[in-house]
Amino acid sequence: MVSFIIDGKKVEAEAGANVLQVARKYGIVIPTLCCHESVAPSGACRLCVVEVKKGKRTRIVTSCLYPVDEGIVVETKTDRVLNVRRLVMQLLMARCPESEVLKDMAKEMGIEPQPAFHPDTDKGKCVLCRLCVKACEDVVGASAIGLSGRGKNKKVGAPFMEDSKTCIGCGACAYICPTEHIIMESTDSKRKIWGRTFKMQPCDKCGRYFAPVDQLKFISDKTGTPMTELAVCMSCK
């Protein structure tokens, strides 16, 4: 256990925990986009910056990655922190001008778009946080999508920007995307994502369409569970 100060409050936390986790436990609000419990933090969105004083030095760090330490002093709402956060938010808004999520977040934080930042028109709503890629690789294990290119050409998609061959249609990427960039269109028996249309499996008992056939095949291959057992939906099991 280590003890340190956050926003003037003395707190205790398990060694190895990150500042963001501890702050949330004590009810301190820090805005984030790329933080998700199922995926290891990466510090991609940089909205979670806080000021940390360790010894004589005070610096701005991403709270999702900064491990707590004995005697540090964390400030989450100083002018310096809010200035950095405002700039990050304005840059994100300039990249994704049509993102409602960002607009709402900015409104809540009292941030106006910076008129000097010329808005991008070709980036969609993607903030390149990599959550979808990591969910696909680490959580699902399909590795169907990735980031390609670099700098201003960097974008998310399947290899060669073609219809993904390894995608199983699980929709984890669309679910985890913080800015609703990845679009999944669903009707009862079909689901469209990454340029492909997936056939949905109806439940053997209630007949409700509940998961893509490809996803069930993938799970069956991985776990060795026969398809007949998987063809029953969660509520009928």
Partner: protein
């Protein structure tokens, strides 16, 4: 033209050369590019299958580095240096002339697959500016009048 079958053998050999080491991916891609002058889609899929690395990861690496090309290149690669020294000494004029004589734009390949034209940043010999490298040969202090003569030699 190499057939698809011949391609697979080469890719396999290259992977074998590095003992299937996943951390040697960049070296493997470089060797594949040397063999085919670009990174063919089939080769990347083959590497992915044989080394059990997701294709997305390989595509990420291949698109990150400018040295890798996913587009087919011609027999001779023309690299016009546009580094600071060459730029000041008129690299843009050389590029214009190349584009005009070859009837292609920068980043394209001629119809007969003889030449590919690319712009690079600094070949590391600024005292020879403006410099052009064609298939590994350095052509120093080039003026645009000399361009047709040099291209004829290839």
């Amino acid at each position: 033209m190499k057939t698809a079958k011949a391609k697979k053998i080469t890719v396999k050999d290259i992977i074998k050369k590095y003992g299937g080491d996943k951390t040697a991916m960049i070296a493997i891609l470089q060797d594949v590019q040397e063999e085919f002058r670009y990174l063919p889609k089939a080769a990347l899929s083959s590497i992915s299958k044989q080394m059990e690395v997701p294709l997305t990861r390989i595509y990420e690496i291949a698109t990150f580095y400018n040295a890798f090309s996913l587009k087919q290149r011609g027999k001779n690669l023309i690299e016009v240096c546009a580094g600071t020294a060459c730029h000041v000494q008129g690299a843009a004029r050389l590029m214009d002339r190349m584009e005009r004589d070859l009837a292609i734009k920068c980043g394209e390949t001629t119809k007969d697959k003889m030449f590919s034209l690319e712009e690079v940043r600094c070949l590391g010999c600024c005292s020879l500016a403006p410099v052009v490298r064609i298939s590994g040969n350095i052509h120093p202090n080039l003026t645009q009048d000399e361009v047709p003569k040099i291209l004829k030699n290839y």
